[in-house]
């Protein structure tokens, strides 16, 4: 395959796929490199009811439509690849995948989105799928009449705690602070549910079990006292982190590691644009990601066309 492109898009969620649609439709040779399955966080969503023009659909379907739209305009989409080297400085940027193939382009759009934040405590990896879950709709029914914990204090944690009471005999919300980040009405609904109780100012510090999760160690953040609790399952909803680790030191990130951009979604590095959940912004939705993808693509098109014009001019002058 020809390895030189006009624009390389890193990340194939709604922001990256939208950029792919706009770029390829404008006849830019475009490559999307995506670490996971195309669609990003959209495929984590069972039902999307707030994407204008589509009454209600699954994230998987919407992701596939976006991917096919981009492909039909000629965009090359490579999913489940690992970027092993990324050079963003200089006029020509390059991305090496899986330690083998290298692709180049004068412009890059970073659209790597975000992911659920893990607790990062001992036993978490071992018991994933064996008592620890990050998805209530997926795994709730494995915990029929069982005792479970929900970790977190935001809207997702409290809403999912309530939804899990359909299955579990009891739901204990473990939260590290003495107050919730969730909206007051979400707190009221959870507090009013007889199956839900709360352990505040506390953190799980270890998951313990043999073949599956059996208990957790919980530490009170104030007294430092550690208690053990027998438990069948733990659901973790403690927010999201931007997938920007590969860009650290290469361009400006803010203190939350989000990419800093201007209004045209240019980053601090010339020829590098960014879009979607990984950038510094307030609202993270599919619609906002799609809007960012559009703006980043149009800015990249302008950038590449200027470079092409400049090189035509200098060729004509020589």
């Amino acid at each position: 395959m020809e390895n030189n492109f006009d624009v390389i898009v890193i990340g194939g969620g709604p922001a990256g796929l939208t950029a792919g649609i706009y770029l390829s439709r404008a006849k830019m040779k475009t490559l999307i490199l995506n670490e996971g399955t195309a669609g990003g966080q959209m495929i984590l969503t069972h039902e999307i009811a707030n994407y204008p023009g589509v009454e209600s659909t699954s994230g998987y379907k919407l992701a596939n439509i976006m991917k096919n739209q981009a492909k039909n305009f000629g965009c090359v989409v490579k999913s489940n690849v690992r970027i092993t080297n990324l050079e963003l400085g200089g006029e020509i940027k390059s991305a090496e995948i899986n330690g083998k193939d290298t692709f180049t382009a004068p412009a890059v759009i970073l659209a790597t989105g975000g992911r659920s934040r893990p607790l990062n405590v001992p036993g978490e990896d071992k018991f994933k799928g064996r008592g620890i879950s990050y998805c209530a709709t997926c795994d709730g029914d494995f915990f029929q009449d069982k005792k479970i914990i929900v970790v977190g204090g935001g809207n997702s944690a409290l809403e999912e705690a309530v939804s899990l009471t359909k299955y579990a005999s009891s739901v204990t919300v473990v939260h590290q602070f003495d107050n919730f980040q969730a909206f007051p009405h979400a707190v009221d609904i959870a507090a009013g549910n007889p199956k839900i109780n709360f352990i505040m100012e506390s953190k799980i510090i270890e998951f313990i079990g043999d073949e599956r999760l059996e208990r957790v160690l919980i530490q009170n953040q104030k007294t430092k006292e550690i208690t053990q609790m027998e438990i069948d399952g733990v659901f973790i909803f403690i927010g999201y982190i931007p997938n920007t680790e590969p860009f650290a030191g290469k361009l400006e990130l803010n203190k939350w590691n989000e990419i800093v951009t201007n209004e045209s979604l240019e980053t601090s590095v010339s020829g590098v644009f960014a879009a979607g959940d990984s950038i510094q912004k307030k609202y993270r939705q599919i619609t906002t990601a799609v809007a960012d993808g559009t703006v980043a693509a149009l800015s990249a098109i302008e950038y590449v066309n200027k470079l092409k014009e400049a090189s035509l001019l200098s060729n004509a002058e020589n």
């Binding site: 984590l44 999913s79 799928g129 709709t137 997926c138 795994d139």
Partner: protein, 120 residues
């Protein structure tokens, strides 16, 4: 039926046939949820690369899924999907919940030994 591009196993007969006719089989038993779809995506991607492995999916709520759900290797599983790897009809590995491309590849390379590249 699952809305994927993989071949589906929908009956006990099909399940037995796949195990009888293929030395290496990977079956992902799940729903169309956020933990399952990425694994189907990985399998769709790898299907073109590993021609010595039969990649199949199976609907978790269909009667045939009993064949996977009742396996001793899945006894302690509490996260979708249940992904099971068979060699000569025997379970060699089983995982619960979402798996990355790297995790699946490591199992394929480890359990099914040689990778036979598919003809393009």
């Amino acid at each position: 039926m699952l809305n994927t591009n993989l071949k589906h196993i929908t009956s006990e007969e099909e399940f037995k046939k796949v195990l009888n006719e293929n030395e290496n089989v990977m079956v992902c038993c799940g729903r169309m949820g956020p933990m399952c779809v990425p694994v189907y995506g990985v399998m769709e991607e790898l299907e073109g690369e590993y021609k010595n492995v039969a990649f199949r999916d199976m609907e978790f709520d269909a009667p045939v899924a009993h064949a996977i759900r009742s396996l001793p290797e899945c006894r302690n599983f509490a996260g979708l999907p249940f992904t099971v790897y068979f060699k000569n009809g025997n379970v060699v590995k089983a995982t619960s919940s979402i798996q990355s491309m790297e995790q699946v590849t490591e199992i394929l390379e480890g359990e099914f030994l040689q990778k036979v590249a598919a003809q393009k």
